[in-house]
Subunit: 342 residues, 2 copies
DNA sequence: AATATCAATGTAAGCGCTTACATTGATTTA
DNA sequence: TAAATCAATGTAAGCGCTTACATTGATATT
């Protein structure tokens, strides 16, 4: 490692025989400098191997060209995928991405918000809308533009996402149309997770409208892991009467449920139907293939990036951008088994 | 958005009736300030909602507490997972994570390196060791500590990873021990990807040692997608004589191959054995379950974080940390079918 | 030819923070 | 009790950059 001191603007200015202002202009607004001067400066930049110091620049310009993203976890493929396209889109605009994870905890999300605010991010991507007002206030007070992704919010704020409630409702209707009456749900943990809560409510409300009382629709909340999905499915199958269709809050839970079904010797969908949500790779790879809801995570990431950039540049934007979802009918949803108990 | 100016150190100092130096010390070296003063200051910090400005801090201290990671893509679960634990570990040390992706292109990796260097990252995480010398020189000249992960490097540099070659070799030996002689491989694209190249070479060398000439071991390189895996598998199955075991460069390829096998009406492992690499979630969820190599990606992420922190703090570190891998025997590797052509 | 105009560049004041050094007052030492 | 010591805090000089404003000299306008 060399110990040449890192060259500064001053060094370049001296080498090129101009003032620091001119060098700065060459770098930030080249057209405000006449060509011969600019060339001389750029040559000096090259020669010295100069690169601007981020700290100095951030301090002086009050801009960082950095945006932050706080997601629950990258372990969940849907966020990893969305984040990947978010980052790609961002980098086209010359922004870099600061990443942090909250582990689904609002308190940790808040901490990370402060860290990022301290780093002067130009804008921030958050997931969903379930967070204490104080967190939102913090961002507003700081004047940091932000948006929620992966769902559509309520009254205030900017969102790019999809209608978790409606999508879940639509799938529920399909399950009902197949003839199922004894539904059950393995939901994500709904506290401070609006996506999970909306999906749950979409299922319940639709079932209720079809005359199934809430009390008759068992719901177990589970963390998004195979094991928890399997465990919950086991509990559900021990119920009597046994549900004929188990709707899951995401594909991971659904696959966990499928594994448990196999263990229990239950055929899917002959003995019990199972549905997922997200349509991650897994869904089309398990056997039988999972009936689920496709969510275009990549598209969401891109749309989020574009929206956030506009917000940062104070360009006009729509308050909510809805990304369409679609039911993907595969092989885990069928009619209920013939009921011999009747 | 309110236009309260963001509070500065000065504001806090004034509110607490101390100098800026004391406030700074409270934040950076609390034990150098007596308790009552510290409490008074912290109260002021709370009250004003103060958070330090990154630019100012970076400029004055010549440190950013930021580390960069450039990975091929977060779409690959193994990197997403590793990155997640890397970030968690980092955040315990008060560092934040800048993320960029190279899409497996050395040129893009280099670009991102420059961006990150410009941002004054304290250190950098890279994947593997296959990159032009000029990229490495760049980092060295800048005095930015960095390490390669997911494999072990050659002579120089720091690494935390595993021996892709040895792991692949071991699995190959197991395949041979089952009695297979007509092996084939679907490898990742090996150019500028040392993990893929090492795995490939591990298979080839072991087969060769067992008397299988290289020319008799067909290898198809494929991008890490289901479709490409399936396509390659199709080509391999069209060969004559048909391979009895197909070893894949990662689990995604293997699962793609399995799907194609089903399509072709070939039983796994009765008609053809298939192996993977990585042991991602997928592997234990497909039917039949995939025989593969477990790589503890989380552990690698953590170890990488610890090593990088030490490098940044100029503490002594081992040059290479090897993370052990293990063969996970499941259901896709069996003995070869009885050969009626003999 | 005198004046107004304007593009190109320079001057210099910070941006918010850290930290070397200076100051202060209490405690220890002789 | 005076001197020495030391912990706690303050003072103030930058860190490298951007940018409002000032200056200059050339060109356009009358």
């Amino acid at each position: 490692m060399s110990d040449f001191a890192k060259p500064t603007l001053d060094d370049v200015a001296r080498a090129a025989g101009v003032s620091t202002a001119t060098v700065s202009r060459c770098l930030n607004a080249p057209d405000r400098v006449i060509a011969p001067t600019r060339e001389r400066v750029m040559k000096a930049v090259e020669a010295l191997g100069y690169t601007p110091d981020f700290g100095g620049r951030a301090l002086a310009s009050r801009r960082t060209n950095t945006v932050g993203a706080i997601i629950p976890t990258m372990d969940n493929a849907i966020f990893a995928r969305g984040l990947q396209s978010f980052q790609e889109a961002l980098s086209k605009f010359g922004k870099t991405l600061l990443v942090a994870s909250s582990g689904y905890s609002p308190a940790r999300e808040r901490e990370q918000m402060e860290v990022m605010a301290g780093r002067g991010v130009d804008g921030m991507l958050l997931i969903g809308s379930a967070r204490p007002d104080s967190s939102v206030d913090f961002l507003r007070r700081r004047g940091i533009p932000f948006l929620g992704a992966w769902n559509l919010g309520d009254a205030e704020g900017y969102f790019v996402g999809f209608d978790n409630h409606a999508a879940a409702a639509e799938l529920t209707q399909m399950v009902l149309d197949k003839g199922h009456r004894r539904l059950a749900m393995i939901a994500g943990i709904s506290q401070m997770n609006d996506r999970a809560a909306d999906r749950m409510e979409g299922v319940r409300a639709t079932a209720e409208r079809a005359g199934i009382a809430r009390a008759q629709l068992p719901v177990i909340e589970a963390a998004y892991t195979f094991d928890d999905g399997a465990r919950a499915f086991g509990e559900l199958m021990a119920l009597s009467p046994r549900p004929t269709a188990v709707m899951c809050g995401n594909d991971v839970l659904a696959v966990g449920a499928m594994q448990k079904a196999r263990e229990l010797g239950l055929g899917v969908p002959e003995d019990v139907s199972i549905t997922g949500f997200d349509d991650i790779d897994l869904a089309s790879v398990v056997a039988p293939k999972l009936t689920t809801i496709r969510v275009p995570h990549r598209r969401m990431g891109e749309a989020a990036a574009e929206m956030l950039i506009k917000l940062i540049n104070k360009q006009p934007v729509e308050r909510q951008i809805e990304i369409p979802t679609a039911i993907v009918e595969r092989d885990t949803l069928g009619p209920p088994p013939v009921d011999h108990s009747a």
